[in-house]
Amino acid sequence: MKVAGTYTIAAPREQVWRFLIDPERLAHCIPGAGKLEKIGENEYAGEINVGLAAVKGLYNGKVKLEDLQPPKHYRIVVDGKGKQGFIKGSGTMDLEEQEGKTLIRYAGDAQIGGPLASVGQRMIDGAAKTMITQFFTAMEAEVTAAPGEVVRQGIFLNLWRYFLKRLRELFGLG
């Protein structure tokens, strides 16, 4: 499955980049992720409770960052395994500075396997879109937070933020 898109964050590129290479803050924004342990150079492992409401599962995941070109590009490789299947994917993030904001272009390809794939194909595209939205919304909150501020993440909070953002965009306030 291929995903691609863009997302604009109201923060300078340097700030976004610092976030993107900080596993702890990153984990805070990945829906369902717990703490990531460093297991190698730019390589982390941890448990992620991936999924949506009714269909959630615990995955043992590994995340690896490659091809780091600060502050504009990296490749992220994700590998997760659980009882309901596995997710294996990689994607690139390209950051572009735009008048103090950052445009993120993401493109990725993921393989989803196991029971999830055999019964859930109709949901996978939608689930991916939903989770990507959740991730970026959470990320924006995290990146734009004042230093030392603890951002509360959660699906409702993030969705709320997402809607506010859309509203602002709609009325040209963004």
Partner: protein, 289 residues
């Protein structure tokens, strides 16, 4: 085929159910008709520690007219909704929608409360519920609140229900003369879920202009939504074929349609527009009587 073990609770009153839900917390899940939850449990896509079977809460099983609206208890089955004369006569759009869910056996067991709470992106109800601007009552140990249909579907498989809340009632309007509605669906041939489903509800004024249009869409995106641009394009217009066509073309405006093996995102968007056109046309015919 075999669910993982769980603890089972079968309260017979709403209060008991709410208490259980409150005390058992995150590991608990409600079982109504079971036609969304049990398949997921059997496939072990989901497991629960506690299953609270509210199927015996008889007070949530009714369909009646009250205060000019049709009030439907959350445990009403799709079958009850499709076959009750009150719904068929006074809100045929909803009856039509219920009649197209799954298959006979599924409709005999599945409930409106269960289906709405599950919020499957390809379920049939969201289209009708949105077009009808239904009200959804939710109860929790803390009290009761009403959620507007437009606020209910938050995201894929995600509703505005808070932890500890149970849907208790759904209210839809009695459709007045001059109002016509229909639900048209492209069923996915294997699962029966909606590849696309469109509910159109239009009201014509005395001069034959559209005074009000509501279009609910399911299956096309991560959640059911109202095609607001299409509604606007109809409002105040004399709805000839060209108006309908151009309004229907807006049915996916601003919406990211999803894709799967049965319909790519592009085709799904196209199909949504074609079915919106057909549904609006059919609704208009009915509105004209």
């Amino acid at each position: 085929m075999i669910p993982a073990p769980f603890e089972y609770h079968a309260p017979t009153s709403l209060d008991d159910a709410l208490k259980l839900l409150g005390s058992l917390g995150d590991g608990a899940k409600l079982l109504a008709g079971g036609h969304s939850l049990l398949p997921a449990l059997k496939l072990r896509l989901q497991s629960v520690d506690h299953l609270i079977d509210i199927g015996r809460v008889a007070s949530l099983r009714y369909v009646r007219e009250q205060d000019g609206k049709i009030a439907i208890g959350a445990l009403s089955t799709h079958r009850a909704i499709e076959s009750t004369a009150l719904v068929r006569d006074k809100c045929p759009l909803l009856a039509e929608c219920a009649a197209q869910i799954g298959d006979v056996q599924v409709r005999n067991r599945g409930t409106i409360g269960g289906s709405l709470s599950h919020a499957d992106p390809a379920a049939d109800y969201p289209a009708a519920i949105l077009a009808l601007e239904a009200e959804i009552d939710a109860a929790s140990a803390k009290g009761k609140r009403t959620i507007a249909a437009a606020d209910f579907f938050v995201d894929m498989l995600t509703t505005a229900l808070k932890p500890g809340e149970i849907v208790t009632e759904v209210r839809v309007p009695v459709l007045a003369k001059g109002t016509g509605g229909t639900y048209l669906k492209v069923p996915q041939p294997a699962s029966g879920f909606a590849v696309v489903g469109v509910a159109a509800l239009v009201t014509l004024d005395g001069s034959g202009q559209v005074s009000r249009a509501r279009i609910g869409i399911t299956g096309a995106a991560v959640k059911g939504y109202r095609a607001l641009d299409a509604e606007k394009a109809l409002a105040g217009k004399k709805p000839d074929a060209a108006v309908v066509k151009s309004a229907a073309a807006l049915a996916t405006k601003g919406v990211e349609t999803t894709g799967d093996i049965w319909a790519s995102s592009e085709y799904r968007a196209h199909l949504t527009q074609v079915y919106a056109e057909r549904a609006i046309t059919a609704a208009l015919t009915r509105a004209r009587g």
